[in-house]
C-alpha cells in the first residue's frame, strides 16, 4: 500500500515538474519579441502606485481645520467658525494661541511648517492655502 502511494506521488510530482518547467520555458522564447512593446513608460504611469500621494481636496482640508478649531477650548465664539475666519479677529485667539493652533495643524497633516511661513498663518483660509500648496500633507 505504501509502495503504491509513493509511486503515485512520485509520478504526480514528476509530471508537475515537467509541466512547470514547460510553462517557464515558454515565455523565454517569445520574450525578446514581446517585452519591448509591453513595458513602454506610458503604460507604467497609467496605474497609480500604492506609495503615491493621494492629494487633498480643498473641502476636506477646510473641514479638518475647522474640526480642529472646534475642539480648541480657547475659541470664544464657535458660531463664527467658517473657512474664512481670522484667528484673532473672529475667534478671539491671542498670538500664543495662534502658535498652538499652527502646531496642531502641523500635527494633523503631519508636515513641518518652517517658522517664517508659520508666522504668516493668521486665518483659516491662509492655513488651507498653505496645506494645499504642500504635496506632502496628508
Amino acid at each position: 500500500m505504501f509502495r503504491t502511494a509513493l509511486l503515485r506521488s512520485a509520478r504526480s510530482a514528476t509530471s508537475q515538474a515537467v509541466r512547470i518547467s514547460g510553462t517557464i520555458a515558454r515565455p523565454s522564447l517569445s520574450s525578446s519579441v514581446v517585452t519591448k512593446s509591453r513595458f513602454a513608460p506610458s503604460a507604467f504611469q497609467a496605474a497609480r502606485c500604492y506609495s503615491a500621494a493621494a492629494g487633498l481636496s480643498k473641502t476636506e482640508v477646510e473641514g479638518r481645520i475647522v474640526d480642529l478649531l472646534k475642539n480648541f477650548d480657547k475659541v470664544s465664539d464657535a458660531s463664527k467658525l467658517s473657512p474664512t475666519s481670522h484667528f484673532s479677529n473672529d475667534l478671539g485667539l491671542d498670538s500664543l494661541d495662534t502658535v498652538e493652533v499652527v502646531m496642531a495643524i502641523e500635527e494633523e497633516f503631519s508636515i513641518e511648517i518652517p517658522d517664517k511661513e508659520a508666522d504668516a498663518i493668521h486665518s483659516v483660509d491662509k492655513a488651507v492655502e498653505y496645506i494645499l500648496s504642500q504635496p506632502d500633507a496628508h
Partner: protein, 99 residues
C-alpha cells in the same frame, strides 16, 4: 520685528524644543501648558530693558536645552524621506540611431 512677533517666535521655538525632548504629544501637552504659564506670567511687562533681559534669558535656556537630534517630519529637509522618489529628469527615450 515687533515684540509680539519676537514673543511668538520664542514661544514656537520653545514648544518645538519641548516636543523634541518629549516625543509623544500626550507627554508634551503638560510641558506646553507649563511653558504657556511661564509666558503668561510676564505678560504685562512693558519696560523694554526688562523685556530684553527676559528675551535673553529665554534664548539662553533654548541654547542650553538644544536637542542634538531634533525631530523633522519625514518629508521635510533633514527628514528620512526628503527628496526620495524624485521624478526622473528625462523620460523620453533617446532617438533611434540607424547604423
Amino acid at each position: 520685528m515687533s515684540t509680539k512677533q519676537a514673543v511668538s517666535s520664542l514661544y514656537r521655538r520653545s514648544l518645538k524644543l519641548a516636543l523634541d525632548w518629549s516625543v509623544h504629544r500626550h507627554l508634551w501637552r503638560g510641558q506646553a501648558m507649563y511653558i504657556r504659564s511661564l509666558f503668561e506670567a510676564n505678560k504685562h511687562i512693558r519696560d523694554p530693558r526688562q523685556q530684553r533681559a527676559l528675551f535673553q534669558e529665554a534664548e539662553d535656556l533654548l541654547e542650553k536645552w538644544k536637542h542634538p537630534d531634533p525631530y523633522h517630519a519625514p518629508t521635510a529637509p533633514g527628514g528620512s524621506k526628503f527628496e526620495r522618489n524624485l521624478p526622473a529628469p528625462i523620460l523620453d527615450p533617446p532617438p533611434h540611431i540607424q547604423m
